[in-house]
Amino acid sequence: MKRTLLKLLLVLVLLPLAAVAGDPAINGRWRLDLTRSTVLDGWSTADVAIQLADSKVGFRYDMTWHSTKVAASQTVDTAQAVDLTNFFRIDQRHMAVYAQPKSAARVQATWIDGGRTLRIEAQVPLETSQGNTTMRIYQEFRLQEGNAELVLIELHNTRSRPLVYHFTKVAEAAAKK
């Protein structure tokens, strides 16, 4: 009886873990399709490279604005909430909204939809003309059928219009292009 209960407990523990494992098809470099996405503001191009490692998901954003190149990396953990300083988001740069330097965003990441969607929720500390504030950000990175497209849908508690970014997969060698 004890053994059966132990097995059941093990199944109950492992099943959710199996369910939350991310689809490795999300690994790789994704390039923003400007024509199908919410219009960028203050950015010319955007790439995001994603790398899974156990419960951790690493992001590297490569953004350009004319000749300017900006790179930002961050890692979320689907096993536990993490505090990230300089949480990166594709911001609207013509708005006077700035990251609070050295302040950390509380970030919770979860695999849903059988590991095909990564959900990220973050409380992001920001600076505006009236001082410090927090923006609650909800993101879903949805792997599309065929694994060649990735859609990022982002909601803010302060914005009624979602930001929708369509990415297509590119070879890592394309990073320099």
Partner: protein, 548 residues
């Protein structure tokens, strides 16, 4: 008021444009010629003839306003047509149209002593030719146009073909400096930059030729060390308070680099290289009896109290005359305009035209950063007070009470760090004791202050004309949500090519208790309740360009 009148009495004699206005007779009729240009500025197309005509314009207009050019639709300065009408209506100018270059030379070759040949395969030679044209009273021609010039009795003065073969821009202008600089104006310099590739728009060349300026298109980009060093030599040899007319070269350096460099020498920048007709415009004062009367909405001594709502104010600061002014919709919203104050000196009629055609919703403000376009964080301390005195004087002439500042020296195009150091802010408050307040930025910025009831507010939003209006609406609503204290003072910069009608629709979609107010009202309200945080440029803030 008495104080201002007394002050004006002191400064009016010092302003040449106003002296001309006061001395102007009761607008006697006068004749002038006009040409209508098409939009072909290709080096292999319409440029050579246009370059000839623009230089000829500078010679023809040396002693009297004889030759005016109206530019095609789509030209950066959209006021050449309305201004022609203004000259006819208010100054009694009777224009006769010239259809061809042949006709223009027929009338104006008498003002030239010869021609100088430039090489369209080596574009710096056009600039050198213009320098020679001013000094020697020459027209500039490509080899293909030599027969045309000679048909009008013009003889060769110089020929630049082959002289600079294989030389760099720095070498070419070093040689030109050695040959011509000593005889050129040391108060003004032409930076004939702008487009690269297969077109050039040297519309300001008439002014440079008339005033015998040195023409160049040197780079202020540190990667072009030879060019930068040479340009620094020119700037250091200009007379204090000198002016650089024109614009930087796209792709060679940036607006931020060039304006930073110019400001570092305490010099003034007047754009653009496409600014036309200054040789004509400079010769008209204000019409008799004309006086600048701004549409103020609040008295200087008034105290307003802000309600718990969102106050919006819109400003357009990209060289008045570019874009929105002549487009439908102006007047539907309170909109402030950065008038180009230096035009008091060299284009008074244009300023009068703007004031005459202003609606009650159009409000003029001073700037940009000084008597012309400058980056104040880089202006030497020993030049700051003199320059701002000049700006303050011009504001009083133009009946302006709000001053606009912009310092993009550390910015990345129209984004990034556009903040002022505390030292710079201190200097502005000291230099402009009578203004109602200051605004700052181009893109968004975060320098803010309130002293003696006079706010300094930075833009919280910049409207990119290409951004879909539904996203602009969402952006503004998001700012309103993020800045949740009331009142919230939301200052918006409207890029020049925006459509005012579309802004009216955006405003209808904003949430919360929103009120669009004129800028002077906005400043008075902002003085009543400081819900914005005092802040200056933080040394830790990222800088895209760290300066020289």
């Amino acid at each position: 008021m008495k104080r201002i009148s007394f002050f004006l009495a002191l400064i009016l004699p010092a302003l040449p444009g106003l002296r001309a206005a006061e001395a102007a007779p009761a607008t006697p009729a006068r004749a002038a010629y006009v040409m209508h240009f098409d939009g072909d500025w290709k080096i292999a197309g319409g440029l050579p003839e246009k370059a000839l005509l623009i230089g000829l314009q500078g010679l023809a207009n040396r002693s009297a306003p004889r030759f005016y050019i109206v530019h095609a639709e789509g030209f950066p300065w959209e006021i050449t047509g309305p201004l022609e009408d203004f000259y006819a209506r208010k100054h009694g100018v009777k224009f006769t149209e010239l259809k061809t270059t042949e006709e223009a030379l027929g009338h104006f070759a008498q003002y030239a002593k010869g021609y100088v040949v430039w090489d369209p395969t080596m574009m710096p030679t056009m600039n050198v030719a213009y320098t020679i044209a001013g000094l020697e009273d020459a027209v500039v021609v490509t080899p293909a146009l030599i027969p045309l010039a000679e048909r009008h009795g013009l003889k060769p003065i110089d020929d630049l073909r082959g002289r600079y073969a294989g030389q760099t821009d720095a070498q070419i202008y070093t040689d030109a400096k050695r040959r011509y600089w000593a005889r050129c104006s040391h108060d003004q310099l032409i930076l004939l930059g702008g487009q690269r590739g297969d077109i050039r728009i040297p519309a300001i060349a008439d002014w440079g030729v008339r005033q015998k300026m040195f023409f160049h298109d040197l780079s202020a980009n540190p990667i072009h060390a030879d060019e930068l060093a040479l340009e620094k030599q020119f700037f250091s040899e200009l007379n204090p308070g000198g002016t650089i007319f024109g614009w930087h070269v796209y792709g060679k350096d940036t607006e931020e680099q060039h304006t930073t460099l110019i400001s570092t020498y305490g010099l003034k920048m007047e754009g653009l290289q496409s600014l036309p007709n200054l040789s004509f415009n400079c010769q008209f004062g204000f019409t008799p009896g004309f006086k600048f009367t701004n549409h103020h909405h609040v008295a200087p001594e008034a105290k307003l109290v802000a309600e718990p709502k969102v106050y919006l104010a819109f400003v357009q600061s990209d060289g008045i005359g570019i874009g929105v002014w002549t487009k439908p919709g102006r007047g539907r919203l309170p909109l402030s305009w950065g008038a180009i104050m230096g035009w008091v000196h060299f284009s008074p009629a244009a300023l009068e035209y703007f004031h005459e055609s202003a609606t009650p919703n159009d409000y003029f403000i001073g700037g940009l950063s000084g008597p012309s376009y400058m980056y104040p964080n880089h202006i030497p301390a020993n030049r700051f007070g003199l320059l701002m005195k000049e700006a303050d004087d011009l504001m009083k002439v133009l009946d302006e009470r709000i001053f606009e500042i912009m310092d993009n020296s550390a910015a990345d195009g129209n984004l990034g760090n556009a903040d002022l150091t505390k030292e710079t802010v201190d200097r502005y408050y000291a230099a402009f004791p009578d203004v109602a307040g200051f605004i700052n930025g181009y893109g968004p910025a975060r320098t803010r202050d309130l002293r003696d009831g006079r706010p300094l507010i930075s833009y919280d939003y910049y409207i990119d004309p290409r951004r879909p209006r539904e996203e602009v609406t969402a952006d503004l609503n998001e700012l309103i949500a993020l800045n949740s204290k009331r009142p919230y003072f939301l200052l918006v910069h409207v890029r020049e090519s925006n459509d005012v009608n579309s802004l009216v629709e955006v405003i209808k979609q904003l949430t919360g208790p929103v009120e669009v107010v004129p800028l002077d009202t906005f400043m008075k309200l902002a003085a009543s309740n400081q819900t914005y945080v005092t802040r200056y440029q933080d040394p830790a803030d990222p800088k895209h360009f760290k300066g020289y």
